[in-house]
Amino acid sequence: MRAVLAGGLVFACIAAGAAIAGAAARTYVGLPGGQFRTALRYEDYKGKPAHVAPFALMRTPVTNGQFLAFVRAHPEWRRDRVPAVFAETRYLQHWAAPDALGPDARPDQPVTWVSWFAADAYCRAIGARLPTWIEWEYAAAADETHRDARKDPAWRERILSWYSRPSNQALPRAGLQAPNVYGVQDLHGLVWEWTDDFSSLLVAGDNRDQGDPDKKQFCGASALSMDDRENYAVLMRVAMLSSLEAHDATTNLGFRCARSASS
């Protein structure tokens, strides 16, 4: 009897494990590594492409529904309990209550009004991490059929038309747009997204008017500039992320998680 029970338990565990692995496969998509030329001009790259290691990225941004489950399991991230040092007062302000979504936050819409600390905590809680900027840019360079569509004027036009849309409309739900060549959705045209190293984008607006920001504010190096000034997809993201502090939360700013390749 005991053996049967134990056997049943083992089977149940295997089944549960498979279910988790299956859910992960639906949640994430694996991206091959490769050489990638970022649109940012980093002085240490000197125009050389960066190497991006293989990684997995969530197919869609984290939704209100998923974030609500996280907040219920980790109540220290409720908007009425989170320390101000980790999230400003507008954190999750569109939810009806600290633990309820309400009419302005449908469960299948991407979560917004989240701070970097909260996004980081969510990803860590599920054994993942936020993607780095270069990973995000690498994944977002693709269209439905090409890994690097950045030179395609039609692709650029499509992205630009999203940025020109007023931001006071209700967000569509996550996962409506066609997947890119890797199977990732909504990198453009839905929300802004945190990256792990958003604060490495050293183009803070407050250095522009300080005479010589390179010498004054940054340690022996220059602020970022763009190699590809027509790439609005990147230009706008960088301008956005570089203006944020880690406790900031704002409209249309969400996130998705990534994982390093396990091999």
């Binding site: 980093y42 040092v85 980790f86 600390f117 604060s199 490495s200 940054f218 340690c219 022996g220």
Partner: protein, 191 residues
């Protein structure tokens, strides 16, 4: 006699109350950076959560020991703030330098730098977080940085003033031998 006993009991109770009070400090303010759990390993190789720094105002900056250009100026900035205070007040504020480069900044490296730069080991804390915590501590302090391909870092050079409970009360980007008068004034107000 009875009264004496009651008084003794009362004193005992008061003493007990004082002890429990001392053992359990008031909760940290919600905007205290010490809300972030952050084990720091100092130049002596001891690891403590940085909330141990509570109780005294601190001038905090992020740096790394192999930094060729800006970080010596950050150290000078810390010293300049100390010098701007009356000698009697200098012990009332601590200076904390937190490494951006914990992979390389071992306690030995931190000790070597403290010696080379002649900082007062009783007032200064040089320490490194776990590699995984660097982005978080930079986040609560509002420091932006990027690791370069050659192992150096781009980073904002700021001195951040924390009050005794770890709330950010002032910051300055003015580092070097000439202190920022507004920042020094903010430090004085904390003493």
């Amino acid at each position: 006699m009875k009264r004496l006993q009651t008084m003794a009991l009362a004193m005992l109770l008061c003493g007990f109350a004082t002890i429990t009070h001392a053992a359990k400090p008031a909760p940290l303010p919600t905007d205290s950076v010490y809300r972030l759990a952050l084990p720091l390993t100092d130049a002596q190789g001891k690891t403590n959560d940085w909330s141990q720094l509570r109780g005294k105002p601190r001038v905090v900056a992020m740096f790394y020991t192999s930094c060729p250009y800006m970080c010596p100026l950050i150290v000078e900035g810390g010293k300049a703030v100390e010098r701007a205070l009356p000698a009697a007040d200098r012990a009332k504020v601590g200076v904390v330098l937190i490494s951006l480069d914990p992979k390389h900044d071992t306690p030995a490296k931190l000790r070597a730098m403290a010696a080379e730069r002649h900082v007062d080991p009783t007032q200064w804390t040089l320490a490194a977080p776990a590699p995984d915590d660097v982005r978080k501590v930079a986040g609560v302090l509002g420091v932006r940085y990027r690791e370069l391909a050659d192992g150096n870092f781009n980073h904002t050079s700021a001195l951040v003033l924390l009050d005794a409970d770890g709330r950010i009360v002032a910051r300055t980007e003015q580092v070097g031998a000439k202190p920022d008068p507004a920042f020094v004034e903010a430090v004085r107000k904390q003493l």
